[in-house]
Structures are given as structure tokens and as C-alpha cells.
Symmetry: C2
Subunit: 389 residues, 2 copies
Amino acid sequence: MTAPPTSAGAPASAVRGPGSEQLLADGRTLRYYDDEGGSGAGRERPDERPLTAADRGRAGEVRQDPLTGDWVAVAAHRMTRTFLPPAGQCPLCPSGSAGSSGAPSEVPAADYDVVVLDNRFPSFSAGAVGPEPGSLLDGEELWPVGPAGGRTEVVCFSADHDASFGDLGVERLRTVVRALAHRTEELSALPDVAQVFCFENRGEEIGVTLSHPHGQVYAYPYLPPRTQALLARARAHRAAGGGNLLADVLAAEKRAGTRVVLEAEHWTAYVPAAARWPVEVHLAPHRDVPDLAALEDDEREELAHVQLDLVQRLDRFFDEVEHLPYISGWHQAPTGEGRDLGRLHLQAFSLLRSPGRLKYLAGSESGMAAWVSDRTPEAIAERLREVAR
Amino acid sequence: MTAPPTSAGAPASAVRGPGSEQLLADGRTLRYYDDEGGSGAGRERPDERPLTAADRGRAGEVRQDPLTGDWVAVAAHRMTRTFLPPAGQCPLCPSGSAGSSGAPSEVPAADYDVVVLDNRFPSFSAGAVGPEPGSLLDGEELWPVGPAGGRTEVVCFSADHDASFGDLGVERLRTVVRALAHRTEELSALPDVAQVFCFENRGEEIGVTLSHPHGQVYAYPYLPPRTQALLARARAHRAAGGGNLLADVLAAEKRAGTRVVLEAEHWTAYVPAAARWPVEVHLAPHRDVPDLAALEDDEREELAHVQLDLVQRLDRFFDEVEHLPYISGWHQAPTGEGRDLGRLHLQAFSLLRSPGRLKYLAGSESGMAAWVSDRTPEAIAERLREVAR
């Protein structure tokens, strides 16, 4: 277990500052965040694409599944979204760069460090075209429906089309954490947002449609099923005399030790005892913290080191795989009811069972939500410790 | 909407008879079910492979995820299971046939109609090598663990390696239904089985590891998460003055009509109002029936026609795709508590969004269980009506 070096402390602006905003031609908002705490001010340029607000994608509706209680977003327009565009047509490369063949992209700036922009094909958005909140589909009580409100944003980690998360470096990681914390804070304040989820999908194996290094922010208008299950468990755990469930799980993992991957001053990474993916690791702060926005400066600073270390280890998990395809998501406390039961943690996992072979979610997983795992959590942890540098 | 022809009624033996059993060399049980109600007696042949009980795969353990309450099966041995064997090495073709290159396969008979055998690489089995029931991992209350008891069986639909479900014909469908009903009845009577799930995974796109036409039966030692959610909803629905939730959903779908795909005398197929997959359809009996074993003769007879019709429509969903990759599963009532709240229904769905493009379960789905669908349920239903013959 390696304790990563902790810097003497970056200036407060490096971990707190908001980004500089501009409007795109279709009315979407874009924000620049520069390294070393820079706001990105001065990068704004006119969006020269011939678009208007009418070209802006809008989310559709949400429907509640009567059999499970889960809300399902129906976003029919997303069927036509950009799918693995050819080289030179990347919408996330800076405008005028080689990545966009010199043409205007979705990012007007000639260069940038980190950019956050509203998703062009949103699953959830303020201007959702769905039915009024509280409506019933076909007039049936069994089928509550509403607009797919909330927000979906795209977070570009680098102007370099070919960069990968593990190559970004600590300075950039600080900027990414700052941007995500800022987006979490701002989106959490919106009345129609129940929870903010920041995640990265990486690799064509899991269906990534744009290869430019980027993550996403989903600000859900309802509590997603995983969160609902977690809150129900956390509430029962507390009622039975326990503390914060996620804090107690972290303490138990530290006591057991067999699945701990790394322990730093403010953070511990472990493979959860009931991990369900072929590769899975969680990263949790030692202090009870609801979300990224609530982290102290030294916690953010160490996070930049620890997360980079962890992603680099994931990239070394299989000798033959340079960049592990993965899903990496920050679970944060709900913005409203149940906020005291939540606790920040990163869940990173891969569907890759071995080089060239994916874990598919077939009948048992997709039909019954009953997971069968092929690799023990202890073996995953052992490998993640083995590939430390 | 096509009402399929209903036969005047097959003999009772055609829908009820058990199969003829034999033991394989490694101690697994295999059962033959012949068309026209035949028991398969006479097909038994010695298993000539040089195996003993020591070669028999055993399931591992189940661990409860403290964050969701879900049980996760850990079956590390399955990492080495047979993966897309080359032509001539199919373990499910009859022994001595071209499909097994004349060698002994897992099916000793020289030919068969339908065969059910214990899974060689079980996720759940009576001889699970996991910890004692009621154990705690690392002595922590947060981590209940136990053996992965229960059963997993493989159901071969045809001796013809290249057959597909839609080609089987009504006579064979009757035999498949009979075999599944018999397995449901027998497995449901076991004390360590909480629910029996009969399903087919089809297509390499969803990770099928053997291309021989086959389905599976999972007899879970616990109630899977989807069932637990359904029972909680059904209980609340009844407490609020409703009837059986699944019956009320069927009635509402029939009233709305827009998502109904076919209506027959005993069965209706519809796309659920909150479908979450790019192609999804449910098939439900008109009578309150807990499971396949409880179907009357005329319901089973019509089912053979209706299910065949439905699968053939799925195969015509995309003009360019001959056999739609799909997951098709029979949800049945739990064997114990909550049995009165359950109700038989088939859920068939595909991850194929369009030819060559899959729906991937990325951050929102896999990390939050929050689904975003790209196609409206009404559009799916319209297409499934359009491709009727």
C-alpha cells in the first residue's frame, strides 16, 4: 500500500474557483476551468457554428415502472446522437484544431485545460419536452409520468484528443476535481435536482460514443434506484443502532484489511466485500463528507494524487490492456431528504473479465438483477496492490 | 393483432409428462423430453467420458452487499468455463454426432428432442463449497455470507446445432414448455429454492458462450432483487386497495391498447409502459397463474403458438438482422412468502438499438441503475405489430 505524496498545499483558488462561462450558439452553456486555479477567463470566443436555440437538444419524459418503482427516462432523440465520429471531426477538440480539422467544434476556444458544457443530446434537461409533472400516462394511476428535468453536462479533461485519464497528471486532476466540485455545488442548488452523479465511461467496449477524454455529470430529477436502495439500507442500519452505513463499511474494510488497496492520510481505496464486477474498487474519504463540494483543500489535494494512482493501477490490471475500459462514478449524498445518510465515494469498475472477454449482463443480471461474479473481491484487491508503483 | 390458431387440444401427456432421467459420469443429472409427450425413455446411454464426481463443478458462495441488500454470487471457477468452442466440439450436440466430431459430448444419446442437464459450471448448486449458511465474512455483521445453494440447469431446445428458437415449430415449443414446467415444479419443491427463473440468452452480442440453441433454469436460493422490488410494489398496491399488481398492469395495458402487440384467447403480449430496453415485450396469461407448472392444457397449447409467433416477430424487428440477439425470461411467483403476489409473465428484450449498435449499460445504468431508453414503448409495439404475419 503506497501513501501518495501530499503537496504542502495548493492555493485555495486552485481548489475552489468557478469557471468562466460563455453561451454557445444553440443556447447551451460552456465553462472553462484552467489549471493552477485559473478561471479560464479570456478563453471565450464566439461560437461560429450556424446554430440557434432550435438546434438545441431537449430531454423527453420519465415514466415510472409500476413493477419496480424505478423511473425510466425516454429520450427518443438520442437515437441519432453522434457516434464515434471519424478523425478530424471531434466535437470536443478545440475549434480550429487538427482534431476538428480546423473547423468550429462545440468548444469555441483555441485551447483549453478543462471544459464543462451542457450535453448536446441530453437525457435530462431543464427544457424537457415531456408531460407536466404529476401526469398519468393513458390516465392510469399505475403509470406516473413527468418531464425528464434535471441536467446533463459533459466534462472534457484535456484538449488533447488522445490523452487518457491516467496521463493527465496531478495538476490537471486538481482542475478536474475543482470543476466537478463546482458543478456539484451549482447543480445541487437547483430545485429540480435530487442527486448529482459525476462519472466517466471509458472505452468502446462499454459503448463510449466519443473517444475524446471526457466525463459526464448527471443531475437527476429523482433519486436513482441505487441511491434509493442505499438510503433504505442506511436508514435501517442507523435505526438498528449503527452509524453512517458507508462510514461503517469503510471502517469494517479497514479492520478486515484483505481488500484494502491503498490507505492515504485522507482516503482509503478498497474492493467492496460483495463486489459484482470483474474489476471493482471504491475510494472513500476518511471524514464524513456528503459530496465533492464539501471536501477540504487538503482532502482535494490528496485526492488528485490518489485517484491518479488508482487509475494508473487499473490500467496495469491486465498486462495486455493499455487502458482498461471502465466506468468510474462519484456517488454523492442526495441534495434533499436522506442527505445525512449519504456519503461521498467513488465506484470504479470494469466489465473486462480478461483481455478480449467482457462480462456480459445476461439473463440473471439483466432480467433478475441477480449478479454472478467470476473473480473474488480479495483476488481483485491483491492484483491492485501488486501493480502499485 | 393476430389471434394464433388454437389446436383442439393435445393429449394431456403432451403437456404434463416428466422426462426420463440418467446420471452423467460426473454425477450430474440429465433428462430427456420427447415431442408428442414422449418421456424420452430409451434414449439413455452410458456416459463414456472419463469423468468422476470430482470433475463436477460446484458453486461457490453468496455475499450480501451492505449498500443495496442484494446477494452477489461469487463463482470464481466459472472464469474457466467453455467459451465459444470451435465447430465439432459442441458439448450440447448429441454424442457421436458431427457437432461433437463423433466423440462423446455432455449428452450421451445419439439424438434427442429436448434435454435438460445440470450446468457443468454452476452459479448455484446443491453442493456449493461456500461458507455455512448464516456465516459472517471477516466476522462483520455488515457482511452476511452463505453457500451459493440452489440449482442451475441447461435446457437444449434441439439436437440441431444450427437451429434457432423461431425455427423450432409448435410441436417442439410444446415440449420446451412441458420441460420448463416440469423443471419449475420439481425445483420449486426443494427447500433451498426461493424462485425458479427460466430464460434464454441468445446471440454472441450478449455474451452467449455456447451457440447451440439452449436456455437455462436458475433456481435461486434467495429472492433476486428484481423480484424483491416487484413484491414490495405488489404488496403496497394491494394494501392501497388494488388487486394483483401484474394482473392490474395487464388490464391497464389492454385498456390503453397502444402498446398491445397481440391478443389471443389466453395470452396477451404488450410492450410495458416503462420499457427500458431498445426492444422489449412482455407476454402474460389472462388468468392469474403463479408459474408455468400451473398452466392449464389449453393455456400451454396456445402458448406454444403465441411464443413462436412472438419470437418470429422479434427476428423480423430489424430488416437486416436474421436472429435478434435477446434475453427472454419467465418470471414466476416465488416458491414461498409472496407467492400470492407473483404472477407468471415472460419478459423478452434485446440490447440491439439498431443493426450493429448495442445499447450499453454505462454510468447511469450500471452505476446508478437509472435507465435511459432511446426508443418509445409505443414505437416498439408499433413495429412488433407491423411485422406480424
